[in-house]
Amino acid sequence: MTTKGGIEVERLVREFKNGPRAVDGIDLEVAAGEIYGFLGPNGAGKSTTVLMLTTLLPPTAGTARVAGYDIVREGPRVRASIGAALQEAALDPLLSGEEHMRLQTALHGLPKTEREERGRELLARVGLSEAADRKVGGYSGGMKRRLDLALALVHRPSILFLDEPTTGLDIQSRTALWEEVARLAAEEGVTVFLTTQYLEEADALAERVGIIDHGRIVAEGTPAELKADIGRPTVEAVPHNPAERERLAAVLERFGPRAGTSPRGAAARLERGEAQLAEVVRALDSEGIAIEHLQLHAPSLDDVFLAKTGRSLEGSGDPEPAAGEQEAVGAA
């Protein structure tokens, strides 16, 4: 049985009428207090998985326990244990931050005497005290996301689901949100299930990462393990003379397959790792190709994704329809 703060998923499936399986038999385990990154392109099945784990969408098949409770049979208990900030900050533009907190604390059943204090405390924590009485319609994207996070925490959940929490945010807002999420896990022991399509987000935050594509988990492990599993760095070179780009690419391909695209040069994944770099330099020299720029890239999660799916993560997705827009088939 799952521990109180953990997540356990077995062969979870979600089918929609006239569509492929959005989630196709996934298995995963998240330990209490862990930050788990669920990485994949648009349409991979990330949001559908979150909707099922947060009890907002019944699975077609399979089981899952969240905080020790079955997501189908014990929905109310699951909801009492979790907080969620779903895709797109779902806020009322006509209410202020303070009014959102008042509504959320009351609906979660906090005693009247605690509501105001809890609201103030959370608004302060996410840096919205000064904007508390302003209507949310005037908030920036980062402020909305921070309020969304604060609202998810009003009832002190042991598990937090964040569905693409930083999509569309500038780097400053993104970093601030990452810091708060990391603090929640480290200081308060909150388990975080985070979906993202940003490699750097999964890399920076998650202790373990599950990579999902077409509804299936194609790789899972710590970011370091996944990269080590791929193990091959990429060498990228830019010729001094742009006309020699094709010749350069041909030379690099002797050391491994082409990797991604280099706007002014060429890149290849080194079959035998970084030890080949010296050989690459000698080969380019013997071919008489003058090099303007040469760089060795360590393996990234994108390389992992590429290796597991044959596609690059960046821009490889399809839109994932919202649950409300889809028709279920045989919902459990």
Partner: protein, 259 residues
Amino acid sequence: MSSGLRTQVGQLARRSVLRTMRQPAQIVPALVFPLFLLAVNSGGLKSATNIPGFPTDSYLTFALAVPFMQGALFSVMNAGTDLARDIETGFLNRLALTPLRGAALLSGLLAGAVVLGLVQALTYLTVGLVAGAELVTGLGGALVIVALSVSITVAFGTIGLFAALRTGSGEAVQSLFPVFFVFLFISAMALPLELLQTPWFHTVASVNPVTYLLEAFRSLLFEGWEPEKLALGFGIAAAVLAAGMLAASTALKTRLVRT
């Protein structure tokens, strides 16, 4: 009602009222448009009072019943559009993650309709009386008119909620407005039922519940206390409310598929 449910209804009602008060675009047309039509009709159809059997000398008094119905139609749109927006933005999912009960959600959402209905009824009645309309039942009648108007507004509001929950689209809810307006036009809106001479129109108007809602208002304005007409008016409002709530509750269960 348990204290938890009371809190939920109270908080959602508060939100609904705040939203309504902060959207002048919802309130102003619901006040201005029916009064504008009242002014046009009472001026243009004044000579209808010369038709033998017309029940009053003042067409303004006769026509004053119509704004209450038009106001109720605006409530379909406003209540439904607000809920549809909650569905579209994902706010309903946020509410679904709390221990919120469906009954609390629907009741809370209708609170905005109650406030709007109250403001509408008081405005229409005040403007009508200031313009010279009769009110033979006095202050008591005025209170019953306001109560009936609010009841009809809330009852029609449930249809808006149902449409929003079924479609999840604000545009779909707004497309209901002309459909409901047709119901108003094929009723005894411009003439009393007994003076409608075209057979098919008389038949349609006589089975149209809007006719009897208008007659309930008119009885209070220029006929006197007519218990049967009032019972029929309040009865229709109660029936629409019950049917609308049932339909909205069923649609909510489908929309909120939380386990």
